[in-house]
């Protein structure tokens, strides 16, 4: 009890120094938490991929299309429950700065395959019925103040022209981590326009999404789909949605590794700063440690006092850092939604934050604890009469 009392009082003995150390640890933990969240979110698409969804694309590259006629042949393969398809549209709203992902999809099958995009029954029916109908995520609609029935114009980049859509629904995510910044419209609208303006690009899709009856069939169905179109003009490459997402993530793997390294470097830097502060603190208190030893307190008591103070300061900084991580993440999610549509701090990140703070406290205390515990009384007083 006495040791705890002494640790707490010592921790706040030099208020400015303690405040600055706690602030430093808090900022480091905040930065660590945000960077870890960023890394985690980068893989969120992969983690949230359904085990029962496959993606089929052109075997040469994603930029090459596939014929719409493949749809019926895929549906006939054993183990296939649902087939949908779509195109990356790449339209621009206002200008390039206002980026959001937009796709042309087959509405009914797409919404069946992606139950995480939740629409009211009325909105769903209106979207399916209207060839110029579109659906936007809740955050996207909120950002631009869109309401049901609004006319939205996108400038085509891959498919040239001014494309006008009627907003028929605003979806919300089934989970907190569901991306609510996407925009879908009816593939038929795109195809009919292509038939009129560029017939050679009509009846083609960018990718198929396939729902399988059981996750165990994923490999078998993938193989069957690719075998079906082997030696055709447009051979396919079918993979699980997870593998498909990973292929995108792997393109940026180096950046993610760099971010991870930076997150660790931040912790190492604050560790050095905290170690310096603790060493300075312990040096100033050597006479006190010597006094305690003189009174009969052992090395274990002294070690506990120094170690405890370091851990208390680091953990307070860690908790403050964690508490600031949530509003910071919310701000990023709100203000930078075009880059980070979902930016939620996971429980694992909170645990990692607290673990990092604990490691900072423990490592920072190693030298001063050893010094305080092993210094002789006479050396502590530094006096020879």
């Amino acid at each position: 009890m006495f040791i705890i009392k002494l640790i707490i009082r010592n921790a706040f003995r030099h208020k400015l120094r303690s405040f600055l150390t706690i602030l430093g640890v808090a900022i480091a933990i905040l930065a660590f938490g945000l960077l870890r969240t960023l890394v985690g979110l980068w893989y969120l698409g992969v983690e949230q991929s359904s085990a029962t969804r496959l993606v089929t694309r052109n075997a040469i590259s994603l930029v090459f299309p596939l014929p719409i006629s493949y749809k019926d042949r895929i549906r006939q393969i054993q183990g296939v429950k649902e087939v949908s398809f779509g195109n990356w549209f790449g339209g621009v709203y206002i200008d390039e700065k206002h980026f959001f992902p937009n796709f042309a999809v087959e509405p009914r099958s797409y919404l069946d395959l992606y139950p995480e995009f939740v629409l009211s029954p009325g909105e769903r029916d209106a979207f399916i019925r209207d060839r110029r109908g579109a659906v936007a995520g809740r955050k996207l609609a909120a950002k631009y103040g869109w309401k049901i029935g609004d006319m939205i114009t996108l400038k085509g980049t891959i498919f040239p022209g001014q494309w006008e859509f009627v907003l028929r629904g605003i979806y919300h995510g089934a989970q907190k981590s569901t991306d609510e910044t996407q925009f879908f419209f009816n593939w038929e609208y795109l195809n009919e326009t292509m038939k009129r303006t560029t017939p050679r690009r009509a009846d083609q899709v960018g990718f198929y999404m396939i729902g399988v009856t059981k996750p165990e069939l994923a490999a078998e169905v993938s193989q069957a789909v690719d075998d079906t179109f082997r030696n055709s003009l447009a051979e396919t490459l079918t993979e699980t949605e997870k593998a498909f997402q990973l292929s995108f993530v792997s393109m940026t793997e180096a950046i993610m590794i760099a971010i991870k390294i930076v997150s660790y470097v931040v912790i190492v830097i604050i560790m050095v700063v905290a170690a310096n502060t603790m060493a300075m603190t312990a040096r100033e208190r050597m006479a006190e440690y010597a006094t305690l030893k003189t009174l009969g307190f052992g090395a274990g008591h002294i070690a506990g006092i120094v170690f405890g103070e370091s851990v208390v300061i680091a953990m307070i900084g860690g908790v403050v850092g964690v508490l600031f991580t949530f509003p910071a993440a919310h701000w990023i999610e709100t203000e930078l939604s075009q880059f980070f549509p979902v930016f939620s701090v996971s429980t694992l990140t909170v645990y990692l934050d607290l673990l990092a703070a604990l490691v900072v406290g423990v490592v920072a205390s190693i030298f001063p604890t050893w010094r305080g515990a092993t210094i002789s009384i006479a050396e502590g007083f530094r006096r020879i009469g």
């Binding site: 002494l6 006096r383 009469g385």
Partner: protein, 229 residues
């Protein structure tokens, strides 16, 4: 003569030297003297003469290179570090020049410190602390922090801390060195009182001849050797 009480402190042929790099610096050489129970001894000498080193050896916070130090019949030169720590806690009270109080603890908590290593209950500790604080005249200051006390009052707290475990001997290193004349007189009177009223054995290092006058015995150290008594 056969039933004569053995001395409280027996020092026999003590030597101590320090190593600085490859150099060996002798600090104490062949020191021998006794102190009877209830005596007040002053150790005097110029800076660097080895006074504090000798005090540290007697108090068991440093180890002699050779010789015997027997306190209350216990040869402390044979004790291990852990045994010495326990022995110090039970048998020696320390009074320092700069008081060496914990600034984050109140007067009460500072005095209570040595008792935390004893099996006394909370209430027993409180009774002991209140009693010794009243002996040193600070019963009304027990909730004050050291920074809220004068130098003299802080030294009184340090004395209370030194006597709270009722140790056999008190060692004081320049106890009046940081005090004004009046406060120094108060502290010396208090120490004198501890000897006469409570029968404590005190060994005090001092530069101050007026402080030394309070002692029953004065030992002079010169270059690590006792020069006169």
């Amino acid at each position: 003569m056969a039933n004569e009480k053995p001395p409280m402190v027996e020092i026999k042929d003590i030597s101590k030297s320090y190593r600085r790099g490859s150099q060996i610096i002798p600090v104490l050489q062949g020191i021998t003297f006794d102190i009877a129970e209830g005596e007040f001894m002053a150790l005097m000498g110029p800076s660097g003469s080895g006074k504090s080193t000798l005090l540290n050896l007697i108090a068991g916070i440093d180890k002699a290179d050779a010789g015997i130090i027997r306190i209350g019949g216990v040869d402390i030169t044979t004790l291990t570090e852990a045994e010495l720590a326990g022995w110090r806690a039970a048998n020696v009270g320390f009074i320092f020049q700069f008081y060496n109080l914990m600034p984050v603890l109140t007067a009460f908590e500072n005095v209570e410190l040595p008792l935390l290593l004893t099996p006394l209950s909370r209430k027993e500790r409180r009774d002991h602390v209140e009693m010794v604080l009243s002996v040193v005249g600070l019963a009304d200051r027990m909730d004050h922090y050291p920074s809220q006390l004068s130098g003299g009052q802080q030294q009184r707290v340090a004395i209370a801390r030194a006597i709270v475990t009722d140790p056999a001997i008190l060692v004081a290193d320049e106890p009046t060195g940081d005090l004004d004349r009046a406060s120094a007189e108060d502290i010396l009177s208090l120490m004198d009182n501890l000897v006469h009223r409570f029968g404590k054995t005190i060994i005090m290092v001092t530069h101050d001849p007026r402080a030394a006058e309070k002692a029953h015995i004065i030992q002079h150290l010169e270059k690590g050797v006792l020069s006169a008594s």
